[in-house]
């Protein structure tokens, strides 16, 4: 039986059947039981207990802040939380304590959410398996020998394991949707700019976006409402106010037109079981009254190449700040130049170095036009593909990932093969549109995800469709067996 959703817990708190203090103890105990999964890199036991006590005190005097007040929430280790560590699962940020409040975390706390801990991830969000972490991998609760996906693998695993009902991650090329798919939970990447990036450690600034994981679309709606909306501290945050997403969850999809991109259903490169479950989920939405039509995204097959040029170029620039001067780890050296080189060489892991090198290369003199500028132009073509496709339908559906959770170690020796697991997810980041993955079945005991992609700012339709599907399916009520976790990390 799956753990309670945030909305169920909110009801229990409102009815006096539970206290925030009890919920935080349950979350901490479950985090302890799930320790072999490596989902958390830092538990904030004392701070969370204090926040929960404050929540209970508010409620006792009739001043509850709303449905998130007292709900345990986890955040990815690249979201700045004032006074707490933030390492991005990197050696180079060893010992760093955030000196200012990041907007998303501050808004969660303003809504009363109790931050219980920081979750594991690929270093600086660069990876699709959570194996590029200085803390070691996070593991998939459905099979600890397999990846939870990445880069937000710890957040997905923490929700799938029932430790917390809501966790936050970030998605630059699929880092929320892919782990949500592989762990059997809902993961939502909002429209670019919907959630402030102030206090989100930058990987690729034109693609990065914070978003929630939960077992249900309804919980994701609650979670996104709390953090969305304009922030003067992020000049790329959209001016639109936070939407009332829960009002959109009417349980009805009749009349909606779902576009099915021909390119996402081509049999090559996708596991047949994945496609089968995705088709069945779409058929269920048709039975619920939705219509489908074929659409085409002619440039979809160029998305990975485009993405890895743009994302690495932006990363090489963003990660120049880690030089050992002002914060983080510093290697001792006799001169400044040596200090930079040693600090960065000792502090970054191999995947981060690979991407910095690739990004530096594609931005360097003589290659800028051939690689970087070319990729920016193809990005325009991809964006137009989506505009065109979404002019003839309300949303797009397809698989989230081409495969089920793969074994840890299976792809670490072949970076390019690892990159290809993001084939269906990266284009949403390039186009800036919202995307969501919702559980739509199991194959060999491993979850399969259905991806929904929408028009800019139309998270509401994605959540409405996912919620309708979850009212007609029970995949999200299944839970992995904690007995299989014991000793998984040895």
């Amino acid at each position: 039986m799956a753990a309670e959703t945030a909305l169920q817990l909110a009801d229990a708190l409102a009815a006096g059947r539970a206290s925030a203090g009890e919920l935080v103890e349950t979350a901490l105990a479950r985090a302890e039981a799930a320790r072999p999964l490596g989902a958390f890199v830092h538990l904030r036991a004392d701070g969370a207990r204090a926040d929960a006590a404050a929540s209970d005190a508010r409620r006792a005097r009739g001043a509850s802040l709303g449905p998130l007040d007292g709900i345990p929430v986890a955040i990815k280790d690249l979201m700045v939380h004032e006074g707490e560590p933030c390492t991005c699962a990197s050696r180079i940020l060893e010992g760093f304590v955030a000196p200012y409040p990041g907007t998303a975390v501050a808004r969660l706390q303003a809504a009363g959410a109790v931050i219980v801990g920081r979750t594991n991830m690929d270093e600086f969000a660069m990876g699709s398996s959570n194996e590029h972490s200085v803390y070691g991998p996070a593991r998939n609760p459905w099979d600890p020998a397999r990846t939870p996906g990445g880069s937000s693998g710890g957040s997905a695993a923490a929700v799938a394991a029932g430790v917390v009902p809501i966790a936050f991650g970030s998605d630059t090329g699929g880092s929320i949707r892919q782990p949500a798919s592989l762990c059997g939970v809902v993961g939502l990447k909002p429209t670019y700019g919907r959630v402030s990036r102030y206090g989100l450690v930058a990987f690729a600034s034109s693609l990065d976006q914070i978003g929630p994981f939960a077992r249900t679309a309804a919980d994701c709606a609650l979670a996104l409402e709390a953090v969305a909306g304009h922030d003067p501290a992020d000049s790329t945050s959209l001016p639109e106010p936070a939407p009332r997403l829960r009002d959109a969850l009417c349980g009805d999809v009749s009349g909606l037109v779902i576009g099915l991109p021909r390119e996402f259903f081509a049999a090559d490169g996708v596991e047949p079981a994945v496609l089968e479950h995705v088709r069945e989920a779409i058929a269920e939405l048709e039975r619920a009254g939705a219509k489908t039509r074929e659409v085409t995204l002619p440039h979809a097959r160029y998305a990975i190449a485009t993405y890895y040029l743009i994302a690495t170029a932006e990363a090489s620039s963003n990660l120049a700040r880690y030089d050992g001067v002002r914060f983080g780890r510093r290697a001792e050296a006799r001169t400044l130049g040596d200090m930079y080189r040693r600090t960065r060489s000792e502090g970054f892991g191999p995947e981060v170095k690979r991407r910095i090198l690739l990004g530096t290369y594609v931005l360097s003199a003589g290659y800028y036009d051939a690689y970087y500028r070319k990729a920016m132009k193809v990005r325009t073509l991809l964006r137009r593909d989506y505009e065109q496709a979404l002019s003839g339908c309300d949303l797009i559906a397809g698989p989230t990932t081409p495969e089920l959770a793969f074994r840890l170690g299976e792809k670490t020796e072949d970076p390019l093969r690892m990159y290809l697991s993001d084939i269906y997810t990266v284009s949403a980041n390039l186009a800036g549109i919202p995307g969501l993955s919702v559980p739509c079945g199991f194959s060999d005991g491993l979850p399969v995800g259905l991806q929904l992609l929408g028009r800019p700012l139309d998270e509401a339709t994605l959540l409405r469709v996912a919620d309708t599907y979850q009212r007609r399916s029970d995949w999200h009520t299944r839970a992995p067996d904690p007995a299989t976790w014991t000793g998984a990390d040895r």
């Binding site: 034109s206 485009t306 890895y308 002002r326 914060f327 983080g328 006799r334 130049g337 200090m339 132009k377």
Partner: protein, 100 residues
Amino acid sequence: MARIDRAEVERIAELARLELAPDEAERMAAELAAILGYVEQLDELDTDGIEPTFHALPLATPFRDDRAEPPLAPERALANAPDREGFAFVVPKVLDEDES
């Protein structure tokens, strides 16, 4: 286009202020060559006259009132400093970098 060898990797590593062991540079060269070989598929596309996309959504540069706001307090800004003196970050000397 994607001919990248160990010497080229070492050149860009220096641009990025990274030091690679010889075997690491060798391995990176092979991996980067494979990735650059893959991205060459973009050459199939005619992009003449296509405007590059720098940001996915059209956003004008926002302005705010020209009003002083409190900065991050110096003590906080320095709290993570690996080495400091008063309100300054201390770093190794710069000048004899070329000799090192």
